[in-house]
């Protein structure tokens, strides 16, 4: 479903991605791990079409994301949900309005249907009672939950998660991962999770990609990763 082929990207002469290739099958969830500044978020933004590669391509169901026109990109994004690292909730809208925003602006659904859908999504992420609060009035964990509800409210086929648990305490982080797993079971989306949450994230993903110095160091199942004798991976696992 998602095919990344020899993707290269550099910033100011510094090579961040040096030819990344892998494929994510329909309904699969991949974890993208690696050191900070290793290009994981950059890779995710290429998949979403927010960045253009220097070389290589990202294809989703045969559609080349990097070379697509605005119309094709917009149609692709209709199928996409993206959970940003900081949530990216709109400051001027409350939680309910944030989650309702994509439906209100893009769908022709009636007010009552939108309300019902939004409240159901907020219930799924445990935010009932906080719908009238603004992003500045809620905790980091609640921001992530609200952002997740907004990303899922349109029932996307593809979900990209950019460090969904970063900055959260272990309990809240674990609850977000469980939430992602629950949503995956419910919606069967194809997903990529950029995370440092090792090994907790292994319980909810099918495969793991480890990026190191702009290249794929390992691609395999969570158990392949745990059993690897590669010193880089060992160092990453053991701190």
């Amino acid at each position: 479903m998602i095919k990344i082929d020899k993707l290269q990207k550099s910033f100011d002469g510094h090579d961040v991605l040096k030819g990344i290739s892998f494929e994510v099958g329909k309904g699969q969830v991949f974890a993208l791990v690696g050191g900070s500044g290793g290009g994981k978020s950059v890779l995710l933004k290429h998949v979403a079409g927010l960045m253009k590669p220097d070389h290589g391509s990202v294809m989703v169901d045969g559609l080349k994301i990097s070379g697509s026109g605005q119309k094709a990109l917009r149609m692709f994004r209709e199928r996409l949900g993206f959970l940003f690292q900081g949530g990216a909730l709109f400051d001027s809208l409350n939680v309910f309005e944030n989650v309702a925003f994509p439906l209100k602006e893009k769908s022709k659904l009636g007010r009552n249907v939108i309300r019902e859908k939004v409240m159901r999504e907020l219930e799924n992420v445990g935010l009932i009672g906080s719908e009238h609060r603004y992003p500045s009035q809620i905790s980091g964990g609640m921001v992530k939950r609200a952002a997740l509800a907004r990303a899922l409210v349109e029932d996307p086929e593809i979900m990209l998660f950019d460090e969904p648990t970063t900055g959260l305490d272990p309990v809240t982080g674990q609850s977000i991962l469980k939430l992602i797993d629950d949503c995956h079971r419910r919606l069967s989306f194809t997903g990529i999770i950029v995370t440092h949450e090792i090994p907790k994230v292994f319980a909810i993903v099918d495969r793991v990609i480890m990026l190191h110095q702009g290249l794929v160091r390992l691609e395999g199942t969570p158990s392949d990763f745990m059993e690897s004798r590669d010193p880089v991976i060992q160092a990453f696992l053991n701190g």
Partner: protein, 194 residues
């Protein structure tokens, strides 16, 4: 009010202090009203627009809009542009009215120019084309402010660097560029509408 003092001082040297009203009126309606109001709006609202959009850029809110398949220009630039086009002439008109009454307060109440002379001569010499000139200027200044400040905020990550420093630079650049463009554009407008 300063214009009232300075105008009265200059005109009385030529025995023309009765023309204080037209002088204050024309100076404010054609030139000072649109320009000073625009500079004030740039400092007050233009900086806020650039900072708000810049913060939306660095906190990925603009990326979120794009990923929803929505056009960020429609949500961030168009409302500001429409608001600026509507508000600038209104604020300029308010500025003109307050300035004209301020001039009368000095000229009429303090320096002895009669209300009839002040406002009568003003009504006689200020023509509708002078008012239109002020409106045209304020409209174009509104477009400049919204355009420059939105642009600077929107592209703050690209041209001025990411993070709070990038937003701060973008805001400063927005205010400076808008102010300079207003003054330069004012010269061309005056040349055309003279």
């Amino acid at each position: 009010m300063v214009l009232g003092f300075q105008g009265f001082y200059s005109l009385s040297r030529f025995g023309s202090d009765a023309f204080l009203g037209p002088m204050v009126g024309l100076a404010l309606i054609k030139e000072l009203g649109p320009v000073i109001a625009a500079l004030m709006v740039t400092g007050r609202a233009g900086s806020a627009i650039a900072a708000e959009i810049g913060i939306m850029r660095i906190s990925e809110q603009i990326d979120a809009l794009e990923l929803m398949g929505l056009n960020p220009y429609r949500y961030l630039m168009v409302p500001n542009l429409i608001a600026a086009i509507i508000c600038m002439p209104l604020l300029t008109a308010l500025f003109d009215v307050v300035g004209i009454f301020g001039g009368y307060l000095i000229g009429g109440k303090l320096l002895g120019v009669g209300a009839g002379t002040y406002f009568g001569e003003m009504a006689h010499y200020v023509e509708i084309k002078d008012v239109l000139e002020g409106i045209y200027k304020s409209l174009s200044f509104g477009v400049i402010i919204a355009w420059v400040c939105c642009f600077k905020g929107y592209y703050s990550g690209i041209y001025t660097g990411f993070g709070s420093e990038g937003v701060s630079k973008a805001t400063t650049q927005a205010v400076v560029m808008s102010s300079v463009l207003i003054l330069v554009w004012d010269y061309f407008m005056t040349s055309i509408l003279f």
